[in-house]
Symmetry: none
Subunit: 157 residues, 2 copies
Amino acid sequence: MVYTDGAAPGNGKAGACGGVGVWFGADDPRNVSERLAGPLQTNQRAELTAILRALQLVNLDSPIEIRTDSQYSIDCVTKWYASWVKKGWKTAGGTPVKNADLVKAIRDLMENREAKGTITILTKVVGHSGDYGNDQADRLAVLGAQLPALDEKGLGE
Amino acid sequence: MVYTDGAAPGNGKAGACGGVGVWFGADDPRNVSERLAGPLQTNQRAELTAILRALQLVNLDSPIEIRTDSQYSIDCVTKWYASWVKKGWKTAGGTPVKNADLVKAIRDLMENREAKGTITILTKVVGHSGDYGNDQADRLAVLGAQLPALDEKGLGE
RNA sequence: CGACACCGGAUUUU
DNA sequence: AAAATCCGGTGTCG
């Protein structure tokens, strides 16, 4: 069981900062609190990246339940994905699917796991409703969003 | 120049009590300290009601500057109101606008005043920052919240 | 039209 | 430190 969450202060505005949070448990060394990579700093990319990180951190043989409050992310990798593959990653409106890179990466891992017979479950939790695990993931995501951007060229100036 | 404020001890909890404060000046007979009417006892209704009271107490011909710490109230009657009228009092999210009764009542008075060429200004003050007038209005609001509910049927038991 | 987030702002309170 | 009252905006999809 893992909780994932994304944060994005200033979402939709110039200068937004994405943060990724993954919470396996108290003091679990696999917990993640990191800054979102890349130039597109949006809430959706942060949420998807958190799910991707969770999958990268568990063994292919270990069943997992990922709990997220992002219905969008769940739908991307469980419902909408199939028709996107058929239609060449085009939206119902004909426009290119956004965040396709992340969706594909998550699907790859899910299918690797499925090929091994390993269970992967995505569960929806209501955000900010006193769910302890979700709150912890949120905390980690907010913290991660405050870290410096990753695409800096200089190393410590 | 009038200061208005609302109070609502227990805001959001069952049994919350709304109080309305309007301060024209020291010992001014128009000063108001009253219990919020109706079943919805929230901070926002208290703030809006205080503004409504202020407008009801000044002559249509008298210019007025109302000072409140409620950015919400100011935005309701100066910014958001126009789009709400257009969209049938629906929120940006499609839900019905809350406290529409109070917003409409205030707008009615403002437009009556405007039709007469009378100036009405809403000014934002920072709450609890040593602003004397705001503190006085706050005092009156807190006092008002302690009065018995208005929808009691018996008159003084 | 629907859904879930992400955010920004101001207050009211405990 | 944490909850409730209220709003608008973007991110994304069917």
